[in-house]
């Protein structure tokens, strides 16, 4: 379907299914039960899953295929956000103006940074991108305050021009009247499911860009990118210059990041400079590695994983722990709370760090490798070794 082979079609369908039914899948526990703490099916987090999924898919096109580790992708995320908020301020709240601009501006921006940074490879490339991103952050945080509103973050004020703002137009981000932050709630017995306009808008975009990513992965262009990763010297000797390819990959992944940043502002009309900080760039690296660099689905999983920890585990405080263990005798209860305490609430970084270590040590291929191993355990048929990294069966050029 759509020019994909059978396996990729099913992969796309799986992603589409996951995205469409996320409100059900992420809310497995009844709303008033103790386990509702672990439900992730509320609009903001679902939007974040998808947006960071898009960010990680884009990052993976660069890192997963060419092996160039960029530590500055958050800069494009920030640029995308600022574009969208500026369009809110100047034109109106319709996201249709801001999102294309976000992609275009981040493409130009990444062309500039990529052109300079890609003169080097390996660690030097990483450092260059890191420097550029940190420079962008500092500019946004202080020097460019008239444009970015500095520490406070760019917001829409009632005295902004908003030239196209109609009298009946909603006063929040929307797509031709479909307001992003509006939701419908479906109650089924003890369960509650929330369907949010903004989430589905992001989910549709995710499917489109995921499809594009598959096409890039399977294209001759994707093959060239893999060649860059495998052996750049050999590629040079065959008379091919890798730079146009790496630059193209860099710009494409910059556009993905810009789109993700734009979507963040489309869901929540604010753009802050912290979005560009090096920690944000590091986060997408973690997502990609955690999920499985170079795989199609991995980065999306990794993004979901990290965002889940950040938003769910950080909210488990001592009060919640006590209510979980309250059925135990007092001494036992306090002991158990004492043991779990360092790993939740303010200690969510610790849990995530431990998990990250475990994944890197035991599953170097990320969560995707875990999935593959499970699949192998349960199916008798011998799997092809390393299915992502071998040439696809392609029809002959003359066909």
């Amino acid at each position: 379907m759509l020019g994909l082979n059978k396996k990729d079609t099913s992969l796309l369908l799986i992603v589409a299914g996951l995205a469409l039914f996320a409100p059900f899948l992420l809310n497995p526990f009844p709303a008033d039960s103790g386990l509702a703490q672990f439900n992730a099916g509320y609009p903001d987090l679902m939007q974040r899953f998808v947006i960071f999924g898009i960010f990680a898919i884009g990052f993976n096109i660069l890192f997963g295929l060419t092996g160039y580790l960029s530590f500055g992708h958050a800069a494009f995320l920030g640029v995308g956000s600022y574009c969208v908020v500026w369009m809110y301020k100047l034109v109106d709240y319709n996201v249709i103006w801001g999102l294309p601009l976000a992609i275009v501006v981040s493409a130009l921006f990444s062309l500039l940074i990529g052109f300079v940074s890609l003169r080097r490879s390996g660690i030097y490339f990483s450092i260059l991108t890191l420097a550029f991103a940190q420079m962008s952050f500092n500019l946004a945080y202080s020097v460019l305050t008239p444009i970015t509103n500095g520490e406070t973050g760019l917001q829409v004020y009632s005295n902004d021009p908003q030239v196209l703002l109609g009298a009946t137009e909603p006063n929040a981000p929307h797509l031709f009247g479909i307001v992003m932050n509006q939701s419908k709630t479906l109650s089924m017995g003890a369960w509650e499911f929330t369907f949010n306009n903004g989430y589905y808008f992001c989910a549709v975009i995710l499917m489109v860009v995921f499809y594009l990513a598959i096409r890039i992965f399977r294209s001759p262009f994707g093959m060239m990118l893999r060649a860059v990763k495998t052996n750049q010297t050999r590629m040079n000797y065959t008379g091919l210059s890798p730079r146009p390819y790496t630059l193209a990959a860099f710009v494409i992944s910059g556009m993905y990041a810009g789109l993700a940043g734009g979507l963040m502002a489309a869901m929540d009309p604010l753009a802050g400079a912290e979005r560009m900080q090096w920690t944000a760039s590091g986060e997408v690296v973690l997502m990609t590695i955690l999920g499985g660099a170079g795989t199609l689905l991995g980065p999306v999983l990794g993004a979901g994983f990290i965002k889940y920890f950040e938003n769910i585990f950080s909210k488990i405080n001592d009060g919640v722990l006590h209510s979980w263990f309250s059925f135990l005798p007092d001494g036992m209860e306090n002991l158990l709370v004492g043991i779990v305490h360092p790993f939740v609430g303010k200690g969510w970084h610790l849990t995530l760090g431990l998990l990250f270590m475990a994944v890197v040590i035991f599953l170097p291929g990320g969560l995707m490798e875990g999935g593959e191993r499970l699949k192998k355990r349960f199916s008798k048929t011998p799997e092809v070794k390393d299915p992502e990294h071998r040439p696809e069966d392609k029809p002959h050029v003359a066909e």
Binding site: T152, G153, T185, D268, L270, E274, K315, K346
Partner: protein
């Protein structure tokens, strides 16, 4: 390439089924009955405490959290009641609010606007909180305040000192108990004048972001008004940890006062560098060289250690005050946690009590009713003396403390001594003051959401 078996009939069928599935939820839609966002229907009501639990201000955030938990205990009638006993409004009876027991959820702002908004959103969307309280940075406070305005719940700001929070970024659903940069400057200037004279030349080092600028602008205006000259203002990057290169030029500038518009780790480092350069032992223009830190906190005082001795600054509140409200709160806090509360903890405690009290007086958790109950509300007994929640900009007006680093501390918490309690009249300004957005700044209209 794979062959797909798409037929016209098949597509139509799937389309019809999909359409029907998508349409069904609207039939079951509940929601719309609520009068405002997260109207509590059961026997409990939820507050959201959004504080930095990781990052540079984690220590402050955790102290805020302690105070907020204590406030919930007092509202629910557990513990000794703390400052509820001294609070002038008696609408809270120690049985929760409006017959509902108060519960709370916590979140981590990480001192980042994005993370703070994410955690606030999850509290609103998932946990169904009616208000959000806390925070330890102006950027975060302004971001979360904007979010609460859009979502239609009340925001009670924690530690936020920038003029903008209740200045150009003021919102109808947001309220600030903490003081601001303008008040700091207005309170400090007369004391500096008295101690150091009116013929001084000041050199400013300013953290290069919104709060730093507004602090510098305020203190420069206030000191110039009494005759000081501003020699220079140098902006320092927020991430700077070594300020030596910024301190060295001070020596040759002819200035005799150094004003450090820094907060947190920045201030600890810049002050330490300044002391290492021996600035305080110098004589310039025939006067002793002095250092001023406009905004103090217990955390910074502890971090700077010996170096803060004799250095002037301002605070919103200090645990060493002797009024009844302070005593009740400090005793209650000390009993539970074994340490005195910080001034950010006190502000969050007061904000939680003030919100609960406003809900009780308004007879509803509707944010618009609560905003109305808080606007123009005059109270006393929470530690800051007589206080007014001004209706025009939702800023609290109360006395400001001028503090000095103590020369002979008696304990690890006894780092600052009270120099003067500046009366509220001296720090009051017009709601349309130029530093607060002028006439363009408006609260907008209250949003109840839903």
């Amino acid at each position: 390439m794979s062959k797909s078996t798409l037929t016209r009939r098949g597509v139509l069928k799937t389309g019809a089924v999909a359409g029907a599935t998508l349409a069904t939820p609207t039939i079951f839609t509940a929601g719309s009955a609520a009068a405002y966002t997260n109207e509590p229907t059961g026997s409990t009501v939820k507050f959201g405490f959004n504080v930095p639990q990781t990052g540079p201000y984690a220590e402050e955030g955790l102290d805020e959290l302690r105070a907020q938990e204590l406030a919930i205990e007092h509202i629910n009638g557990m513990g000794d009641g703390g400052a509820l006993n001294t609070f002038t409004s008696k609408a809270l009876g120690g049985d929760g609010v409006l017959g509902k027991k108060v519960e709370f959820v916590t979140g981590d702002t990480q001192t980042k606007s994005d993370a703070a908004r994410a955690s606030a959103k999850s509290m609103i969307e998932k946990d169904g909180v009616v208000m959000i309280n806390g925070g330890s940075s102006s950027g975060v406070a302004i971001a979360v305040q904007g979010l609460c305005q859009e979502a239609g719940i009340i925001f009670m700001a924690g530690l936020t000192h920038s003029n903008d929070t209740t200045g150009k970024d003021r919102k109808a659903n947001g309220f600030r108990h903490f003081f601001n940069a303008y008040m700091s400057a207005a309170a400090l200037a007369p004391v500096l004048n008295k101690e150091y004279g009116s013929d001084r030349r000041a050199y400013h080092l300013t953290a290069d972001y919104t709060w730093g600028w507004s602090q510098q602008e305020s203190i420069a205006a206030a000191t110039e008004a009494m005759g000081w000259q501003t020699v220079n203002n140098v902006l320092t990057p927020l991430a700077a940890t070594d300020f030596s290169s910024y301190i060295a030029p001070v020596l040759n500038s002819g200035a005799d006062v150094l004003v450090l518009n820094h907060y947190g780790g920045n201030m600890v480092n810049s002050l330490t560098n300044a002391i290492q350069f021996g600035l305080r032992d110098k004589q310039v223009n025939g006067k002793n060289f002095e250092i001023v830190v406009p905004l103090y906190s217990e955390l910074m005082a502890a971090g700077a250690g010996e170096n803060i001795k004799g250095v002037y600054g301002s605070m919103n509140w200090n645990w060493q005050l002797t009024d009844e409200g302070t005593k009740a709160f400090v005793q209650s806090f000390g009993q539970k946690y074994g340490r005195p509360p910080s001034n950010s903890a006190q502000t969050c405690y007061a904000q939680t009590i003030l919100y609960a009290d406003a809900a009780a007086r308004a007879g509803s958790f509707n944010p618009c009713a609560i905003a109305e109950a808080l606007e123009g509300f005059e109270f006393d007994g929470l530690g800051n003396g007589p206080t007014l929640y001004r209706a025009d900009d939702h800023q609290c007006f109360k006395d400001v403390l001028v503090m000095k680093g103590r020369d002979n501390p008696t304990s690890q918490y006894d780092t600052l001594e009270l120099v003067e309690k500046t009366p509220v009249a001296q720090v009051t300004y017009d709601a349309n003051h130029a530093m607060f957005g002028g006439d363009a700044a408006t609260l907008g209209t209250c949003n109840a959401g839903a």
